[in-house]
Amino acid sequence: MQRLVLMLVMAFVFLDVHAQQHTVKGTVTDEGNQPLPGATVRVKASTVSAITDASGNFQINTGEQASPVLIVSYIGYVEQEVTVNGASVTVRLKTDAHSLNDVVVVGYGVQRKRDVTGATSTVRSEEIVKRPLVRVEQALQGTTSGVQVASNNGQPGAGLSVRIRGVNSITGSNEPLYVIDGYIGGSVESLNPNDIESMEILKDASATAIYGSRGSNGVVLVTTKSGKEGKTRVDFSTWFSKASVPKQLDLMNAYDFARTVNTQFQLSGNPAAFTDAQLQELQSKGGTNWQKELQQSPWIQNYQLSVSGGNTGVRYMFSFNHLDQPGLILNQYYKRTTLRSNVDVKLNDKMDLKVNVTALFPQNRNTQYPGDLIDPFAQATQWDPTSPVRNADGKYILSAQYGSIQINPVAQASNQQVDNSATNLTGTGVFTWRILPGLSFTSNNTYEIQWSLNQQLFGKETSLGMSGRDFASQGNTRYRSYQNSNFLTYRGDFGDHSLTLTALYEQQNRRNINSNAQGVNLISYVNGYYNIGLGSTQLVSSGYWADALQSYMGRVNYAYKNKYLLTAAVRVDGSSHLLDKYSTFPSLALGWNIAKEGFMQDNRIFSDLKLRASFGVTGNQAVNPYATIPQISTGAPYYFDGSKPTVTTPLGSPVSTSLKWERTEQYDAGLDAAFLKGRLTFTVDAYHKKIKDLLYYFQAPFYNSGATYARNIGSVENKGLEFALGGTPISTKKLTWSSNLIASINRNKVVDLGGLDNIVVNNIGSPQSNVSILKIGQPLGEFYGYKFLGTWKAKEAAEAALFGMKPGDAKYVDVDGDKKYTAADLQTIGNGTPKFTFGFINDIKYDNFTLSFMLQGATGYQIYSQTLAYVWGGLGDARNATTQDALDIWTPTHETDNPTFSKSSTNFINSSRYVYNASYMKLKNLSISYHIPESLLSKVKLRNLEVYVSGQNLFTVTSYPGYDPEITNATNAITQGLEMGVIPNPRTYTFGLRAGF
């Protein structure tokens, strides 16, 4: 894409080739010997230059010089000087990974990187193909400063949480806006990572404000690959990964568990549960390791085939990708097939047409576990190890007498089927018309349609079946979205002044229609979920929503002498969601190319130095459709005679009609520097973001329905610093080492809550207490509860008695000193928002070998782990302790801080006892690849062949005792840092190959 644009730009500034006496012919290629069309060839110490044609060939008059020196340059490649000793020459250009001269996509156009005034980062295809990526977001992890990416969930196909410059919204999504080939809000799931040419991450408001009410979480502009002129290239790649859960919790074996149940019962005055004979038998037989029974170590497979090529009139890129990813627990998988066709047509001298069509076929089973205490994964840590998985007759044992009340996790995982599949078609057509020199018109039209099918089967041997609600269901959703963007761009140079003007009109509308049919208590399950009519009770529902957005945007890019840069833009968004339809989002940015100043010309240190500053306003569309209209929902039926259903239509929450978008005001100052001819680059940005009119789905008091209603309640701020340091410490003919270090510091604070001091937030999932709080002056993700002090010791017996407690009972901070643990003693007990994140990527190339590794981490935050609370038993559905720590409880002679089992003790679930430091550093990726030498390849007509082995999540440095410090139930900014039984990230060992023909 960038090259294409550059060629077009160059076509306008085309310079004549003067034909004189001495002529040199030549070819310019890239490192892979592919021709580079559009490269500039200049004769040193002259004004003569030429541009390579579609085959990378050029012809240039070198005048009378005996051994002329040619300077060959091309955007994105290292400039090269060649001395010509003959009539023809081949120049091979090396890619320049750290160039400030790249062209970057900026949204509704492109810009030279040196003219960019906003804070942006780029991830290129080379970085993407290096790792076995399942999801596009993984390519952002550890590669871009200011971007914090966490794989919160190890379920197959699961999305990652991406936070650009901290969390902004407590209600709306904090995920950045993805713009895929100009289609705003495109689904990243629909993207095959290998189809991506580049991703631009727009971070500051001057860069994102052109996306107005959707820009406040940052924007990721994704450009997919286009065909290149030249002969047809066929690329094939594949990888296989062996995945496994990297760490197991230390749980008791059956014997220790049984002993501990006995201890627990005896301490609370009940008889022992297990006789000595039973204990002996358990000791010899071992019992069940539920973690092991539930988990599996699957092979993940990925295949990618692409065909690309073209001529001056038509260029094409077709790709096919198939991913098959089974889960880390039984009966779970994600499969995805994507097809893409990108075609670029030159209609005539002035018009281009680009048509990109993708088809996506995702399919998954049981990948939607919410991360909850009733999930099989969490249950495996709470289940009774003295119970076998199956009876003697081979049938699953469904419930156990000790441990968890819930169903056998292996039975649940094996017997439930939640199958999703979808067909997604997205077509983008981009029409470009260069009306006059400098003036062009672009119309970008995208139509996306998706049919989804959700089929569920919960038979008799599932938790629902056990409670008499076994069912089969089928849900259908049809979604469509249409976007039409039209913009005029004018570029002009007037002496030292250069100007680019952009004017946009854009409209978008979406519609979703769904229906669901459920049959309960099927008379037979032999047809699975294909015969819902067998249900003795039938339930149906349907839904509809639609929305629309209409926008105008104007932008000015101005540069004086290429030194002083200005970008100003205003976007006006009109939305169907609000009663006050239109909102305005202005931005302004300034840049100063210091390196271009006269006083810098002689310096040998800086090859580039630029200062940037910006201010802008963006929004977050956290208000759902119809949020300003009171809703009367259709509830579950009621049965006045116990059998005949009566429809219910409960009134929803009252609504607040004065809703507004959240508005983010962001200041940014940044510095880009390149040293030693670009061998070392450094970028630093400081920002201050204030999010006003913070939208919150406030839970109404129960006398006002207890339901949630949207309300603009206050503000939050994010302050931060981000650094990116890139360099090539070693660059010799045989050995190159390039390295990138990125680091981000973010401080987040709740500034205002509309008159309230704090809001305690209802938990996600089924836990029964509230551990999250929004509190003025504290960051988002604050935990709230009792501060745990360990146990009452023997010498404190008198003090403990005042609380009605005994030594060995749990001790907490009694804030108000009333000798009781009540709500007055609740306080903040930790925070789940990381303060510091970093990534460190290295590529060491020696001959045909490349060693790459990536370290990534986050510090300065805690995790509240529900999983680690429930393994103590006595909470939720967990009756008995399963953790090995329960072997080390307080006794009169061994006074530990693990409370004893006691009738007088209180094990509060919302206590700091279950809050852990979660700082970590992970070796995210380590790979060794080998390029088969070209001398060998040419014999078998291969252009390129590379094989590699790699490992992901090979080790983690952390003191966190849970499964994985990276995973949480971070469904929103308030509850980040809560962990309630989420499947961790797999450790994978991968081998793969890439071949080009």
Partner: protein, 513 residues
């Protein structure tokens, strides 16, 4: 040619420009503008009130009795996952311990919210007055019932009788104001409701309203209002229900708990497991932890009676049907070993409830020496007002109003006693002795049922007497509470859940919490 081509393309791309509509039309949902037009709208809106009470987050499981564990008919396991129950059992209730308390707050309030919606809008509906009144009367009834549950549990709560603004945060009203609304609502309901709804036994009818009003008056005569003039009113209302002849006692006490909408059922919540509305106070919930059915399911051990409560029970058929005293322990050879409740082989060393085991044939399925299956969900109704309550309300209220038991007072209590398999009450008892007998009768007639025993303890301030008889095998109560009358007096009210306190920053928590 070329120009036409360009114009065509340009025209195509700009075709939609400027005509994007931004108005919203929620085609998939009802809105206030499209609602309360017909009697069917009203039907669905009234059904929504019942639904709020019947869901799992409200009264469908034993969390509905969380504040009532201070009573002697309910206790729980000292450990396991019963923290919320245990703290109340130990008179150490916590507003935040494990969320079980939320059920008791959420259910009635969300019902009141839906009821207010009906009461504010029912007149708009195009239907005959008696049709509208039959619906609105249920809303008034359910609002009164919900407030009655709230005011007895939490004391002062705001009186809200119409839809509120989204940001309104009303203050807590006095207990007497709350009762004023309850009485007025029930009188309206009595005027509006028909005496029965054929084919819809779950709907509150006029008799249900009278029966509830009688109960309300009786409660108002006790703590905290002590409006003794209400005894006569209570007697009057219950008498009307008795005289209606609409209800008779089910001859076999055990059958009351294995049938739905039987002849003594006056008001009950309806359930339907397959329809997504399971009743979960029966079955596994009351089954001993150490009992395992042949289908593999074991008990949840949520609640059982205190030892003294069982031991003091009168010997009669009702007691036999009420309590479960022989625990069946599954042996490796798939047979059951039968042991008495007090055996050291049992986990809890407590008797259990038998009457909540079966449900309507879908809870625990068992024989005398075998448990075939055990399930946590049942279609059994949750009986809120049974006819014996009307009889016993009448017995107590008529005696108190007349300052001595009348022959009708005796007749009423003796009806209940005869069905229980007991002899008639000793004639000629003094007023207090008679009243104590009625209260005792209520304790065993309604043992373990929906807090009835606890609310008797509250209105009559019986905690000291109950504690005096409490076995030391029960969960320990902090002596600082048990031996301090002032601290004990605070335990009759329940703390408001922490969350709701935070949403209402101007409220004061009940003293002692």
């Amino acid at each position: 040619m070329k120009l036409r081509y360009i114009t065509f393309l340009l025209g195509l791309t700009l075709a939609g420009a400027g005509c994007q509509k931004l108005t919203e039309d929620p085609k998939g949902s009802l809105t206030p503008g499209t609602y309360f037009k017909t009697a069917s709208d009203l039907d669905a809106a009234v059904a929504s009130i019942y639904l709020q009470l019947a869901v799992d987050a409200a009264y469908a499981n034993i969390s509905n009795s969380t504040p009532c564990f201070g009573s002697d008919d309910l206790t729980t396991d000292p450990g396991l996952n019963k923290l919320g129950f245990r703290l109340f059992d130990q008179l150490n209730g916590n507003s935040d311990a494990d969320g079980r308390l939320n059920n008791v707050w959420q259910g009635p309030w969300t019902a009141i919210y839906q009821a207010n919606n009906v009461i504010a809008n029912y007149e708009k509906v195009d239907a005959a007055d008696d049709v509208k009144h039959a619906y609105a009367g249920q809303a008034f009834y359910l609002r009164a019932f919900s407030y009655y549950m709230l005011v007895r549990t939490f004391g002062p709560v705001p009186v809200i009788d119409k839809p509120l603004d989204v940001d309104a945060r009303p203050a807590r009203d006095s207990v007497s104001n709350v009762y004023n609304l309850i009485v007025s609502d029930l009188k309206t309901a009595i005027g509006f409701l028909p005496t029965s709804f054929p084919g819809a036994p779950g709907k509150a009818n006029q008799q249900a309203a009278k029966a509830l009003l009688a109960e309300v008056y009786l409660t108002m005569a006790g703590w905290p209002l002590k409006q003794t003039a209400n005894y006569a009113l209570a007697a009057e209302q219950s008498d009307a229900v008795i005289k209606s002849g609409q209800f008779t006692l089910v001859p076999d006490y055990a059958k009351v708990f294995t049938t739905n909408n039987n002849s003594e059922s006056i008001f009950s919540l309806q359930f339907n497991v397959a329809g997504g509305l399971p009743q979960r106070t029966f079955g596994s919930s009351c089954m001993p932890l150490d009992e395992v059915a042949l289908n593999g399911n074991s008990g949840w051990d949520d609640f059982y009676p205190e030892i003294n409560f069982y031991q003091a029970a009168p010997k009669c058929a009702r007691t036999d049907a009420t309590f479960y005293t022989t625990i069946k322990l599954l042996q490796p050879n798939r047979t059951f070993k039968l042991v008495p409740w007090s055996s050291t082989e049992t986990h809890a060393g407590h008797p259990y409830y038998k009457k909540f085991r079966s449900g309507v044939g879908d809870g625990i399925v068992e024989t005398d020496n075998s448990i075939i299956s055990a399930n946590p969900s049942t279609n059994k109704t949750l009986d809120i007002i049974r006819y014996p309550m009307v009889l016993l309300n009448y017995a107590e209220a008529s005696a108190m109003a007349a300052n001595a038991p009348t022959s009708e007072s005796y007749a009423a209590i003796n009806q209940v006693r005869r069905r229980a398999g007991l002899a008639d009450l000793t004639p000629g008892l003094a007023l207090n002795a008679f009243r104590d007998s009625v209260v005792q009768e209520r304790a065993y007639e309604f043992a373990g049922e929906f807090g009835i025993r606890w609310f008797d303890i509250v209105r009559l301030q019986l905690l000291p007497q109950i504690l005096a008889k409490r076995s030391n095998l029960e969960n320990p109560i902090n002596p600082a509470v048990a031996n301090n009358p002032a601290a004990l007096a605070q335990k009759y009210l329940t703390p408001i859940p922490t969350n709701e306190m935070l949403r209402n920053p101007q409220w004061q928590q009940n003293p002692g919490y």
